[in-house]
């Protein structure tokens, strides 16, 4: 990882493979130019390039290379974590990164357009703005429909994500992946735009690219009440449950992909191939143990997406039913919520008065993503509030 300024200085472009040398040791690694990286420094990640443990380690017997570069050879006893005076030379080769950021934009024009729209997608403000207009995040859209909205009984699940708390650590993504048996599709598939994460973390840079502000936004299925995906499914494989979940019925899905087309958030994932097939091979049987027994492993030709961890909701409500008692607030925890170190994610029953999620969603900062489409998302975001220390701000 290099900062844009350093890369300019060294005349290195995004994706160039360079040799990093230190004390006579060297590794070759591709360059990822990332705004926000400190200037004149290189960031390297340990743990990649390993040949054992996990899908990331590849499979030597099958000639599958491990992911990434093992940079631990650069470490020495004196310099476990930091090393000064490294050299960097370009090898002239190029490397293609399979990154899911800015994935749905198709091309450069799309990218530019997205950067122009950040303010619409992710809403943030300073503490002064908040003091002046607490509801600055609302863009004021009428919600009118040409039909009557049906009333639903029972608990109504909802989620709220506080962008002020989110630190963009990706723990939710990983938790979701392991909870929900989400396949690892490999680099080629990711490059084609077929990654399977149900939860993605959108990252946006704003301001000067040499001194950027960064804002992250975890995006999973928003469980819209007027979900555009549901109505277009010809076989009713995605329907609305009574408790407000946007259910995906894997067994009923025939894979028309219409729902994914119509999803404004692009959070539906399609099994273009049998991604779990390798796992069923006998020599991979250990990996089968990693699967959550409560979650169906999806086959080829089936659409999938965030379920609000429906298996947890159902298990917990069965337990509560056994005890002849109503569900308590906070009793159901989604995997992402459970793993969030900053506790940015709240989940619960919106109808339960005083529930944590209802409280969060009623805050003035709360807004629905793309709510001008009248899809009524169940997931709401709390706009990010910045309150930089003026002293620090002045020194940088």
């Amino acid at each position: 990882m290099l900062s844009p300024a350093t890369a300019r200085e060294l005349d290195i472009e995004h994706g160039d493979v360079v040799t990093i040398g230190s004390d006579g040791r060297s590794v070759e690694a591709p360059v990822y130019i990332l705004p926000g990286q400190a200037e004149n420094s290189i960031g390297l990640q340990l743990g990649y390039g390993r040949t054992a443990a996990g899908t990331v380690a590849g499979h030597v017997a099958h000639n599958i290379d491990p992911v990434g570069v093992n940079v631990s050879t650069l470490r020495s006893i004196e310099h476990m974590h930091f090393e000064n005076g490294v050299t960097i030379t370009s090898t002239g080769r190029r490397h293609e990164f399979a990154t899911t950021q800015e994935h749905f934009a198709i091309d450069r024009v799309g990218l530019e357009e997205i950067s122009g729209r950040v303010g619409d997608l992710v809403r943030e403000g300073t503490v002064d703005e908040y003091a002046e207009h607490p509801d600055f995040a609302h863009h004021g859209h009428e919600e009118i429909a040409l039909w009557e909205q049906p009333e639903q009984d029972g608990p109504q699940w909802g989620m709220s994500i506080d962008l002020s708390k989110c630190i963009g650590c990706n723990a939710c993504v990983v938790a979701c992946q392991s909870e929900n048996n989400i396949p690892v599709v490999g680099k080629e598939q990711v490059l084609k735009g077929r990654e399977m994460h149900w939860l993605r973390l959108d990252r946006y840079f704003t301001g000067d690219m040499d001194d950027p502000e960064v804002v992250q936004q975890p995006v999973a299925c928003q469980h819209c009440e007027n979900a555009p995906c549901e109505q277009v499914c010809p076989v009713a494989a995605t329907v609305h449950s009574d408790d407000g979940l946007n259910d995906m019925v894997y067994n009923r899905c025939i894979g028309t992909r219409y729902c994914a087309n119509n999803c404004p958030y692009k959070v539906r994932r399609f099994n273009f191939f049998d991604y779990q097939l390798p796992v069923v091979q006998p020599e991979q049987s250990l990996k089968q143990l990693a699967f959550n027994p409560e979650v169906t492993v999806r086959s080829r030709g089936v659409m999938e997406k965030c379920t609000y961890c429906v298996q947890r909701i159902r298990n917990t409500s069965i337990l509560a039913d056994n005890d002849r008692r109503p569900l308590e607030d906070g009793e159901v925890q989604t995997a992402c919520q459970q793993s969030c170190p900053a506790q940015a994610i709240t989940f619960g029953d919106l109808k339960l008065s005083g529930s944590e999620v209802a409280t969060e969603q009623s805050k003035p900062r709360a807004y629905g993503m793309l709510d001008e489409l009248n899809v009524k998302p169940r997931t709401k975001y709390l706009a990010r509030i910045r309150n930089p220390n003026p002293v620090l701000k002045a020194t940088t």
């Binding site: 198709i106 109505q231 277009v232 010809p234 009713a236 025939i254 028309t256 992909r257 219409y258 399609f270």
Partner: protein, 389 residues
């Protein structure tokens, strides 16, 4: 419209070029047309052509097998381009199919007599085109073996398909369209089959044609009912043909996708369909006319009229492109505007500009008489149109 006596022809009408060239009588026309199917020997060229097309068909089946065995991923679809290749083919073929029904039904209703030289031809093309179109929705789904779930049949799951989905409307529209086209085609062909039956010399042909002619005797009463039915079918097929592409366009237009959600889509799709269909008819017609010696029956006038229709629909399509842009700009919706800008400048710019060139600019050549009268120039333009669509 048998029931309507033809009004006495005004001299102005008789000034128009005749529908057939040369000294033609009823029997000579029958002779010309029937001789094609009554040739004693199948020409070698036919075998060669058949071999080529059947090997291509085999290849198609092989590739479809591979697709089904491997997964939809082989098409290169991804997120957010979930449909891409198959839908393009589907819409293209459905559109092509429209010309046949249009020629048969709408022109019949408008009493355009010039249609008779080409309508059967165009109808046959329609049926093949709809068949081609029908393949794509069937194989484009992720789990092809379950595609029958689209049909509302009583099942052990005790559930029904979702009638609120445009894709289900599509299922009904395309299957209805295929069925009605087939009926229309066959109904019009019964008397012709009877002619072939009565001309046939071999026993096998007599039997085969006789079977399909259903015992047609050409009696006045039979004609009376048949004509009524044909008129009614034409009247039914006309809104049907509009509805089919309208419903296909609903697939896109009901969605939230910027650039798709446009209320202009229904008429725009229909115009485009007619446009491409006519171009396809011209593409096929000119060589067929040449090969089968039908120049007296399919006269330059027919081709000229076809070209005019292509030109007119080309203008409509061009107008629709322009309106889309105008609407995107006018609506003030940034996403909408972006979608259109991206079409012009994005990675698909080549496709966009090819489309505009082939669909709007090149057909303008039909303003020149030369392009409307010279068959090969005409085919060149028509092929461009097909590429453009």
């Amino acid at each position: 419209m048998s029931a309507v006596p033809i009004p006495t022809r005004t001299p102005s009408e008789s000034l128009r070029p005749p529908l057939v060239d040369g000294e033609q009588t009823l029997s000579s026309i029958t002779e010309t047309v029937c001789s094609i199917v009554e040739r004693p020997q199948t020409p070698r060229a036919w075998y060669i052509a058949f071999a080529i097309s059947s090997s291509l068909t085999l290849m198609l089946f092989g590739l479809i097998g591979y697709l089904i065995a491997t997964g939809i991923g082989v098409w290169g679809n991804n997120s957010p381009v979930f449909w891409g290749w198959p839908i393009v083919n589907f819409v293209f073929w459905v559109g092509i199919g429209h010309a046949g029904t249009l020629i048969s039904a709408i022109l019949f209703l408008f009493r355009q007599q010039w249609r008779t030289s080409i309508n059967r031809f165009a109808e046959a093309m329609t049926i093949f085109a709809v068949t081609c179109a029908g393949i794509f929705p069937a194989i484009h789904v992720g789990r092809v073996w379950l595609v029958y779930w689209l049909a509302p049949y009583p099942n052990q799951m005790a559930m029904w398909p979702n009638f609120r989905s445009p894709l289900l409307w599509d299922v009904f529209a395309v299957s209805t369209y295929a069925t009605v086209s087939l009926l229309f085609w066959y109904l019009g062909m019964i008397p012709d089959l009877a002619t072939l039956r009565d001309r046939a010399t071999s026993r096998v042909r007599q039997f085969a044609y006789g079977l399909f002619a259903l015992g047609w005797t050409g009696s006045a009463r039979q004609w009376h009912v048949l004509e009524k039915a044909y008129l009614l079918l034409a009247a039914l097929a006309t809104p049907l043909v509009l509805s089919v592409h309208t419903i296909v366009s609903f697939d896109f237009a009901v969605s939230h996708v910027p650039g798709w959600h446009t209320t202009i889509f229904p008429p725009y799709f229909v115009a485009g369909a007619v446009f491409s269909g006519f171009a396809m008819v011209v593409t096929l017609l000119v060589p067929a006319r040449h090969l089968f010696g039908l120049k007296d029956l399919i006269t330059p006038r027919h081709l000229d009229v076809m070209c005019r229709i292509i030109l007119a629909t080309s203008c409509m399509v061009g107008y629709a492109y322009a309106t889309e842009f105008f609407t995107a700009w006018y609506s003030g919706n940034r996403f909408e505007q972006f979608a259109f800008l991206n079409r012009m400048q994005g990675p698909y710019a080549w496709a966009y500009w090819t489309m505009v060139t082939c669909n709007v600019l090149i057909p303008q050549l039909y303003w020149f008489k030369r392009f409307r009268t010279s068959p090969w120039l005409m085919v060149g333009v028509a092929i461009c149109v097909n590429i453009g669509m």
